[in-house]
């Protein structure tokens, strides 16, 4: 209990940010029409690739001969990057199709 309280004290701003972001996220997404659910999901999926930032920091913080961290870290970078680039690219491909018709009809 004491540890939890201490954690709360030390990360007060972070906890505020967390709560507000949760509410913001719900507000943002609940308005999305069914038509766009798939692009929304794949776009959001790309955003979850933000974990790559952690992977980059991890590699940068490693010593030059710490191959355990370096190899696993670059693996994480590769995984995260596939998620990011693939996610945005495939979302763009889908949304392009929605747009094309808009100008036609």
């Amino acid at each position: 209990m004491e540890a939890a309280l201490q954690f709360f004290e030390e990360n007060l701003l972070l906890i505020y940010l967390l709560i507000f972001t949760v509410i913001l996220g719900f507000e943002l997404i609940s308005k999305v029409p069914t038509v766009l659910h798939t692009p929304l999901m794949s776009g959001a999926n790309a955003i979850s690739g933000v974990v790559i930032i952690g992977a980059i920091l991890l590699i940068r913080q490693a010593e030059a001969d710490d191959y355990f961290s370096l190899i696993l870290g670059s693996m994480a970078v590769v995984l995260g990057m596939i998620n990011v680039v693939g996610g945005y690219a495939v979302t763009d491909r889908m949304l392009e199709m929605f747009k094309k018709k808009k100008t036609r009809s």
Binding site: A3, A4, F7, E10, N11, L17, L18, V22, L24, F26, L28, I29, K31, V32, T34, V35, L36, T38, P39, L40, M41, S42, G43, A44, N45, S48, G49, V50, V51, I53, G54, I56, L58, I59, R60, A64, F68, L72, A76, V77, V78, L79, M81, I82, N83, V84, V85, G86, G87, Y88, V90, R93, M94, L95, M97, F98, K99, K100, K101, R104
Partner: protein
Amino acid sequence: MTAVLNFAYLIGALFFVVGLRRLSSPDTARRGNMLAAVGMGLAIIATFFVPLARGHNNYLWIVGGIALGGIVGLIAARRIQMTSMPQMVSIFNGLGGACALVLAMVELNNYYSQSVTWTGGQLVIVLLALLIGGVSFTGSLLAFGKLEGLVNDRKITFNGHNILNMVLLIATLAASVYLYSQGVVGGMGLGIAVMILSLIYGFSFVAPIGGADMPVVISLLNSFTGLSAAAAGLIYDSQIMLVGGILVGASGTILTVLMCQAMNRSLLNVLVGNFGGGGGAAKAQDGDLVAKEVTITDAAIQLFYAQSVIFVPGYGLAVAQAQKICKELDDLLESNGVSVRYAIHPVAGRMPGHMNVLLAEADVPYPKLIDLDEANDALPSTDMVVVVGANDVVNPSALDDSSSPIYGMPVLNVWEAKNVIILKRSMRPGYAGIQNPLFFHERSRMLFGDAKASIQKLVNEVKSL
């Protein structure tokens, strides 16, 4: 310098929020997605320059990983068929989870080798990233296997699977608590044990869920990956990771809830699974009934002289690659003064909104796509309904047969229309394995054969009228 970098992160996070906001309307969605991508780019670049207290930067390792991942991601995104979109999202999602898992493992290793010191709170966060990332990774891989048809739903689950899941969940959590209680003396073996348990649990947790429930699972796993990214953000004290991860977690959660509502089931009910396991036998008496067939010529004439036609597309339409030819029939009928619309059930297809994307690919304008409520209002005054490869979403058992596994799920009441034509390969039940009394309804007529070939024949026939 630090101020500039922090500012870049702030802009990045802001772009995520505004990008998601714009994704909520078809007109602005594409720019929204690009904005979010730019935000991510900014954040990645800024991360190269953040001043660090320790380490050797090792830029080459990072650039190599980014180049490799970027190329693989781009090629995959270009090549993928729209039909296979759910698989692609699952696999990308799994990779995100795996990324968080790897980070957590490396950080745990640092912790045990005492190159960093943590408070209890930080250890909890690393554990969270490890657990959620692991579950999301193997869960998504299995979802991918199921969607791709590599894994048969029935073969990997058994009666009482939920008890196994419960045991696994408790074991995983117990191991995590033990790891936490041991603190820094615990050692990496404990970390590996927790990792393996979380990986097994992820697999086992998705195993009993299948059939029409796939959209729920995909949404839920998406939300998990977001949460694992947010937990990783707490490890690195990175606000943008936290914001990005939480936004994804929220969006995945909302879609999960929406999908559950569309099926009128609780999330728990979906997770407990065994969907369609017992339903096949319940309606066996329908075997005595005879479904009536319609000829291509009759079907074409009915369509041609109808005032209004509603297509009900299901995943079968996508499998037969019949979207384009369906659109051709639509154009042909429209040019003869028939009003044509498409009724999209929220769980049609294999992920939320999947059918809309497939029809968009075939150039069907999105105002012609109507949702469940709108369709059910319009159906009684509709002359013709053409069901193409859909099954469970037009099953009347959902309304009147309490023994049916889909009882209570809102469905498209197509039998209220004046005539129903069902395009189907055979009398075999659909993906969820449930018999459908609609096929034996007095207003229903079956048109057997491959959906694409059948619609092609209809097009030819209508042209010759």
